[in-house]
């Protein structure tokens, strides 16, 4: 904040407020009308704004002692935010605020109240600070990552033709919650449906010779996992094996250069080139994404991210190739960058070097 010349940093998204104030207000995530706002200003001003029904929770668990609440139906949280910025002496300050999340109507009110202040995007500050994880964050990511891979291994072990994608989904949710996940999302795509990138499970019955794609996104202690495996019910065809070999080779080439200092566009280009020389055009325009308090954060591994990989970043790599109307292939694991290379958060327990074969 200070390095970039700002007097205050204001967050409104559930992830950045949680990162700043240390407490996640549960209804904030599902109900965007219950604004929760964190404010850091100068050397020693911090405050959190919450909706009145969540005040007790915030008082007990927030990192900040300065908690203010507003009535959702009669008060505008932007007025309270303006009051607090005034208290902090910033009526004409330079304020970094999440303009990529704050609703336009709130912003209109804020600039009415503080016409002398200047407001800029806070996005890059949070993106960059959050990219590099603390030991505690890495511990939490490892916990949820390993939990997720364990569950996928157990699920794939128990699949049999004749059950539906939704039944598999319900089993995933059950196992994840039993292992302690707070929430879980998943994609289960079989046969033709494996060729849809975000394939929500349906009543389709899993059949012999289906390609089966399972992606699980866990949430534990506010940190996220994202792991994907591709299997074939029965034996893969030569075409399937060939496609898979290209994706795995592309992934291994990327792993061979994955270390601090490598430029992200170079890593991405290595992936794209390896796919193309194997006759495949990657379906997505990114190879992976940072993971932490949110499932997608920086570093996005794509050509527009012109900065180097650094120690203690955590991200996924997810080679993915969809043939719409036919089938789809996708493997995704979580990585942690070390001082000299990387370590695998997932990928040891249930390797997907070959397409996983499900006995029929």
């Amino acid at each position: 904040m200070k390095r970039q010349g700002f007097d205050a940093l204001v967050a409104l998204t559930p992830d950045n407020v949680t990162y700043t104030a240390g407490v996640l207000i549960p209804s904030h995530v599902v109900n965007r009308f219950r604004r929760t706002i964190s404010i850091l200003a100068g050397d020693n001003f911090s405050a959190q704004i919450v909706v009145n029904v969540e005040e007790n929770l915030a008082r007990e668990f927030s990192r900040f002692s300065n908690i203010h609440s507003y009535n959702q139906f009669t008060e505008n949280p932007s007025d309270l935010l303006a009051d607090l910025l005034e208290d902090a002496g910033l009526s004409s300050g330079r304020i970094a605020i999440e303009l990529d999340f704050m609703p336009a109507m709130d912003y209109v009110r804020l600039i009415e109240r503080l016409p002398q202040a200047t407001f800029n995007h806070a996005r890059d500050i949070y993106f960059h600070v959050r990219m590099t994880k603390t030991d505690e964050e890495i511990e939490r990511l490892t916990e949820v990552g390993v939990m997720t891979e364990t569950v996928i291994a157990e699920i794939l072990d128990g699949i049999h033709p004749g059950e539906t994608e939704k039944e598999v989904g319900a089993r995933i949710a059950n196992k994840m919650l039993r292992l302690g996940a707070d929430h879980v999302r998943y994609h289960v795509g079989s046969g033709v449906r494996s060729g849809i990138t975000n394939c929500d499970p349906t009543d389709k019955v899993i059949e012999k010779n289906d390609v089966l794609r399972i992606e699980v996104l866990g949430d534990h202690n506010n940190y996220r996992s994202n792991v994907t495996r591709t299997a074939v019910v029965g034996k893969p065809t030569q075409e399937q094996k060939d496609i898979w070999a290209v994706l795995i080779e592309a992934k291994e080439k990327c792993e061979s250069i994955l270390r601090p200092g490598i430029q992200i566009p170079d890593l991405y280009q290595t992936y794209v080139n390896a796919c193309r020389s194997g006759g495949i055009e990657p379906t997505l325009n990114f190879l992976g994404h940072g993971i932490g308090l949110t499932i997608h954060e920086e570093p996005y591994i794509t050509d527009t991210r012109k900065y180097p990989i650094g120690p203690n970043m955590t991200h996924t790599m997810e080679p993915l190739f969809m043939i719409p109307g036919k089938m789809g292939f996708h493997v995704e694991d979580m990585y942690r960058i070390t001082n000299s290379g990387f370590s695998r958060i997932t990928g040891e327990l249930l390797p997907n070097h070959d397409l996983i074969e499900i006995d029929v």
Binding site: P26, N56, F73, F101, P103, A104, D106, K166, I196, D200
Partner: protein
Amino acid sequence: MRNSVITKLVAGIRDASLDAVIAISPENFAYITGFIVPSHPVLRWRHALTVITAEGKNAVMCVDMEESTVRERMPNIDIWVWKEFSYDAMPILAKLLDDLGLKNARIGIEMDYIPAGDMAMLRKHLPNARWEAAEQLFNKLRMIKTPEELEILKNLSRITDSSIKTALENVTAGSTEMDIAAAVTSSILRNGADDYKFLIVASGERSQYPNVGPTDRILIEKDLIRLEIFGMLSGYHAGICRTASVGKPTEEAEHIWSNLYECRKIILENIRPGVKAAEVYLKFLEKFGELALKPISFVGHGIGLFLHEEPYLGANSDTILESGMVLGIEPLAYVEGRFGLQCKDMIVITQDGCQILSDVTNTNNLFPVN
């Protein structure tokens, strides 16, 4: 595309003297198209939107990542695609609007959703357009459910209620909150919901906090358990809450529960077309006041594509209730520092009263857990 919704919207657009509206939130996108773009609610920058004009023309835009999903759902519709990471959603939207002949038009957009930064960019790209807040237009229309929406909500209410019942029947003293969570979520998915949201499992003294998720806490005798979950189906929500007692409840808990049960009865008796929403809340307060506990500022709310919609049943709500509204009603009591109880049901307002949609679990008494 849902033609019945588009017809209602076009009338609303004309009434408001607009030339077009843009639906940019996941719920209003789903209201018009009938489906949610999977990552739209999860990753806030992945804009998907629809534009409806006063002439009834429409257009759809989504991020490249979700193009295949949107095309599968709407095979015959022209789709505008913007590229993730190039931050060009707003420039493409501006082109789309220009293409529809709207660059000098009066356009409604959800000012309570579109991020301030995107709105500024949109203004820059279409400097002659006039922008109006459209959220109230959507909120008003969405209050009254179409027959298709009502069918989904009825079905979902039963799924959700019976899953809660199953979960509570399958735990005992010695089980953990996590066991309840696993049982209710797996049951809700097996029963046909396609997702769930906002699972609250709060036992013992944790039951005093309105919105807390499950932990490893072990259930012991005399615990109260507040179990709330929002089942989801096709983007719609059914929020239901039950309170259980492990073993025989204390007299105090029973006393509060019987008051809440009476409150619920009063709410149901007073809900009918023509009544002001605030009146229902005030009637509730009269009864709840006997407990001398602090009430929250509403006792019910509309529900549908968003988990809290208009109308709220609160002291400041002057909405007149109408037939076809679906509400979650939730008398609840928090005894600070000790415990909390809540009973939340789904109802639909009919021609002459209301009908309970969550009619599976008996709520006359605290749900008995062994």
